[in-house]
């Protein structure tokens, strides 16, 4: 039984660090702020969550120590990471950072017009 749990802990750790690595890779490789934000706000969230979960399981199963702060940390990251991604991309757009040149559509450009029409 403990071997199975150890395997699960190891699995979560490896997946978490792999996802964090992919995030870093995506940050270097992707072309503009917005696509980089995709990588940063998704993979980093799940990566850190997996690592925290593995830490929690390790201390619970091996040491018998139930650390509720790790659970709270997982929840906080889960709630705040998408908001951070949203705010960064919104701030970037509003300060005029251009989209990648291969972008096909930009409806946000029509936002001002839409609001002038409806307000």
């Amino acid at each position: 039984m403990t071997e199975v749990i150890r395997f699960i802990i190891g699995f979560f750790l490896v997946v978490g660090s792999f996802l964090t690595l992919v995030t870093a890779f995506g940050l270097i490789r992707l072309p503009d702020v917005y696509t980089r934000n995709h990588a940063a706000s998704k993979s980093a969230t799940l990566g850190v969550m997996c690592i925290l979960l593995a830490t929690f399981l390790f201390f619970y199963m091996e040491e018998g120590h139930f650390n509720s702060r790790l659970i709270l940390g997982i929840i906080f990251i889960f709630i705040t990471a998408p908001v951070a991604g949203h705010l960064i991309s919104r701030a970037a757009y509003n300060s005029g950072v251009p989209l990648w040149e291969k972008s096909v559509r930009d409806d946000l450009k029509g936002k001002q017009k839409y609001e002038d029409r409806n307000m």
Partner: protein, 158 residues
Amino acid sequence: MAFQILLNFFLAFVWMFLSVSFTSQSFFIGFLLGLLVIFAFRRFFNSRFYLLRVAAVISLLFLFLKELIMANISVLKTVLKPKLDFQPGIFALPTELKTDWEITLLANLITLTPGTLVMDVSYDKKILYVHAIDMPDVDEAINEIKDSFEKAIMEVSR
């Protein structure tokens, strides 16, 4: 909903006082009995029986986790593909949700969905501006997913 939960706690306390045993066990028994009472009298409340809503919240949570995992797989595919041949873009998504917290929840869900990121919300709260990492194949499929998300959120708030 909050009123029904409060009433359930109140009934549990009444049960503890009736049976003169102040343990967590008798509280639990009282809570279950109170649940039965509230279920029996459900037609006198304005909102639905609250366990249904609790179930909707739990299913929304699982939807969240599932989407997070799917999103990560799609990011993996995008980042590790040898050629950068996706076409990003921003599209407008009309939403029917009214209150602020519903829209926040929808925006968070969309951000954790494969290939989409919420950029802005219009001032009249009717349109979400979403950045998609690959426009051609995402556009239709995404709208379907949005329908399921909006339904799941409405299931909670209705």
